[in-house]
Symmetry: C2
Subunit: 356 residues, 2 copies
DNA sequence: AAAACAGTTGAAAACGTTTGAAACTGGCGC
DNA sequence: GCGCCAGTTTCAAACGTTTTCAACTGTTTT
C-alpha cells in the first residue's frame, strides 16, 4: 500500500505534445446519417419526445453513443430561446458568496435548470459595473435567469428574471433577498453596550451596498438610544475587506481615546480587526471586543471564535432560487424578502474592564 | 455625513412586484429597420469591419444605442463556431482556486478572449465527473477553450483546447500545469527532520489527484533517506479538506505513540490539524509542528502562521492561460509544465523537545 | 461615350438545432 | 376498392447572426 516503490515519477511527463487540432465536431446530421433516419427524428429521439418508435430511439441512441454526439447548446438555445441554465453572478470567491452558492445548489438539485456560477474573473477593482455588462451579454442567450450577489451598480432591464442578494438600494430594480441588517446591527451594538463598553467603534461596509448603510444605521440607533455620545471618529471605512478592516483598526487604535469594542460590518473586516490587534500585541477579548456580521465558517476557526451576527446565507440562496423559479413560471413574487439575522455570541467579546 | 437622520428604512421595501414579463428582445433586424439599412450593414458596422461608410456607422450606432441592442452570443457563436470565451472550470470556491483564478485573470486582461469561471455549483460530493459533463456540454458551443482545476476524472476528448491544473495522472490527457510536488514534499519533510522530529506523520491529499500521490511519495522518500523507520500508521487520509484534516489529526494523536510533527498534503488540511490541536489543548508549535502545502493567503492569518510549501499559484494560472492561447493559435505546447515549489518557514514548526 | 474603378450596400446562404404540419405506413371497417 | 385511423417519419421553416458575392453608386480614365 505504500508508495515507496512507485515507479512512475513526475519526471517522465515532460513531452511536447503535437499542435492542437480539433476533433471534427459531430452534428445532428452525422447522427441522422449514421442511424439512417432524418435529423428531425434524431432530435425527437434525444429529447425524448412522443411519437418515436422504440426501435428507432434505440438505434439513434446507439449512433449518438458511437459518434459521441452532443447537442450544440448555442444552436438549441437559439432555436428555443431558452437554455435551461440559471446563472449565479458573483464578484469574487469570498466565503460569503460560497455559502450562498451552497444554499442555491442544495435547492437546485433535481430541478429542471442547470446552475452555473459565473464571475467576470476580475482581479483588480477597476472594472465596476461588470455585473451589468455580464448580465446584458449573457441574458437571453446562454442564461434563462440570474441570481446576482451583492451587485454594485443598478442592474439593467434584461430579457430574463433576475434576483439580487444583498443589493444596492434604489427604486425599482429586481426582487431582492436580504437579511434584517437593521435588527442585526442593533443587536450587535447592544450586545457590546450590555457588556459595559462605552467607546464602541464601527467599521463600515461597502458603501455602495444597502446592507452596509443599514448596518451603520443600526449601530447609530443603538448608540443613540443608549444615550452614548455620538463620535464621528468612531466610524471608519472597512469596505467589507479583511485588510481594509485591519487598516481601519490601526487608525482607530491610534486615536487619543481608542475604542474598547468594535462592531465591524462583516466578518471579513472583523477578522481584519483581529489581525491588526494581534499585530499590535492586543489580546482579544481582554483588550478589545470584536463583533462581526454574516457568520461565515471562518468565524469558528478564528482564535478566539468570532462573535457575530448570523445571516442564514444558505437559506437566502435557497430562497433566491425559489424566487427565480417562480419568476420563470410567471408567478407573482415578493419584491423584497427579508430574512432574520441573529446574534451569535462567541469568544471575541467580553465585559469592559477599565484599561491599564 | 452621519446616517442618524436617514429617512429611508428597509421597512418600506416589501411590495409585491407584478408577474415577470420579458422585455421584447431586440434583434439585429430591428436595428436595421430603425437605421434604414440592411442587417448585413448593421453587422459590419457593429463589428467594425471595413467597407462601411462613416455616416452609416454613426447612424447604426445611434440605432443600437437607442434600442439597446446586444448581439446574441448564441447566434453569433453558432455562425462562426467561436465564442471568444475561455472557461475556467472549478470544483469549488476554495482558496486554492481563487488564487489560481487571480493569476489567470491578471494574464488575460486586454486579450482577445473573455474569461468565465464556471462551477457546476455542486454542494455535495455525490456528483463525480461533473468536469467531464460540463466540458462536453460547453465545449465548442459557448467555450472556445477551458482551464480545468484539479479534475477528478479523465478529461474527455472535446473539440477545444484544454489545460489542466494539478490534474489526475494518466497517459494522454490534456497539457497540464503542476508544481514540483516531489521536491516540495521532500523539503517539507526534511525541514521537520532537521528540526529533530522522528515521529512525523503525513496527512494525505485527494487520492484521485496526482499531486497528492507525489507528495506522499516525497514524504516517504525523505523519511526513508533519513533512515527513519517506516510506520504505516503515520499516514492517514485528509482529502485536502479542513475537517478531514482535523479528523485525521484526532486519530493520529490518539495513537499510543503519537507524532510530534505532521506534514499535511495541503494547507486546508493543515489548518484542520491546527483546529484539532487547539481543541485538544495542544499548543502549536510547542507540542506539535505542522507543515502545509500550497501557501494560500489563509496561512498568514492562522495563529501561529503556517509553515508551508509555496506553490506559485498565480503564476500557474498565468501559465495556463498562456498555454491556452498558444493552443488556440495552433502552436506546439509543453505537454506537462512543472513549476518550482518552495518551503516557507513560519511559526507552526519548532525544534523537537522531549515530551512531558 | 464607354470602360474601368473605388466605395458602399444588400441579398442570400450558412451555422445546428427544434417543431408544427404534412406525408407516409399498414391495418381495419365499410 | 375506398376512406379512415393511429403510429411513425420526414419536410421545411425558423431562430439571429456573419460573410461572400453581386449589384449599385458616382468618379475617373481611356
Amino acid at each position: 500500500m505504500t508508495l515507496l516503490h512507485r515507479e512512475t515519477t513526475v519526471e517522465n511527463m515532460s513531452i511536447v505534445s503535437p499542435e492542437f487540432e480539433a476533433p471534427k465536431k459531430v452534428t445532428i446530421e452525422d447522427v441522422a446519417r449514421h442511424a439512417g433516419v432524418s435529423v428531425a427524428t434524431v432530435s425527437k429521439a434525444v429529447n425524448r419526445k412522443y411519437g418515436v418508435a422504440k426501435a428507432t430511439i434505440e438505434r439513434v441512441n446507439e449512433a449518438v453513443r458511437e459518434l459521441g454526439y452532443v447537442p450544440s447548446m448555442a444552436a438549441s438555445s437559439m432555436r428555443n430561446s431558452a437554455s435551461n441554465v440559471v446563472g449565479i453572478l458573483l464578484a469574487g470567491f469570498d466565503p460569503f458568496a460560497t455559502e450562498v452558492i451552497k444554499g442555491i445548489s442544495a435547492e437546485a438539485v433535481n430541478k429542471d435548470y442547470e446552475l452555473m456560477a459565473y464571475s467576470a474573473a476580475i482581479a483588480d477593482d477597476k472594472t465596476v459595473g461588470w455585473e451589468r455588462d455580464s448580465l446584458i451579454r449573457l441574458g437571453g442567450t446562454i442564461l434563462d435567469a440570474a441570481i446576482v450577489l451583492t451587485p454594485s451598480v443598478a442592474l439593467p432591464e434584461v430579457a430574463m428574471p433576475i434576483v439580487a442578494i444583498d443589493p444596492r438600494m434604489g427604486p425599482g430594480g429586481p426582487p431582492s433577498i436580504a437579511c434584517d441588517s437593521l435588527a442585526g446591527a442593533r443587536a450587535a451594538t447592544q450586545h457590546l453596550i450590555d457588556l459595559g463598553h462605552t467607546r464602541i467603534a464601527h467599521i463600515r461596509g461597502r458603501t455602495d451596498l444597502t446592507s452596509a448603510l443599514i448596518r451603520e444605521q443600526g449601530y447609530c440607533q443603538a448608540i443613540a438610544e443608549a444615550g452614548l455620545p455620538y463620535d464621528p471618529s468612531m466610524i471608519v471605512d472597512g469596505g467589507y475587506r479583511r485588510n481594509w478592516g485591519a487598516d481601519a483598526t490601526r487608525k482607530l487604535l491610534a486615536l487619543p481615546e481608542p475604542p474598547t469594542a468594535i462592531f465591524a460590518a462583516n466578518d471579513s473586516s472583523a477578522l481584519g480587526v483581529m489581525d491588526a490587534a494581534a499585530e499590535m500585541g492586543l489580546s482579544i477579548p481582554r483588550d478589545l471586543s470584536v463583533v462581526g456580521f454574516d457568520d461565515v465558517p471562518e468565524c469558528m476557526y478564528a482564535t478566539p471564535a468570532l462573535t457575530t451576527v448570523a445571516q442564514p446565507l444558505m437559506e437566502m440562496g435557497a430562497q433566491a432560487y425559489r424566487t427565480i423559479l417562480s419568476m420563470l413560471g410567471h408567478e407573482d413574487v415578493e419584491n423584497s424578502l427579508k430574512v432574520p439575522a441573529e446574534l451569535v455570541v462567541r469568544g471575541s467579546t467580553a465585559p469592559f474592564v477599565a484599561a491599564a
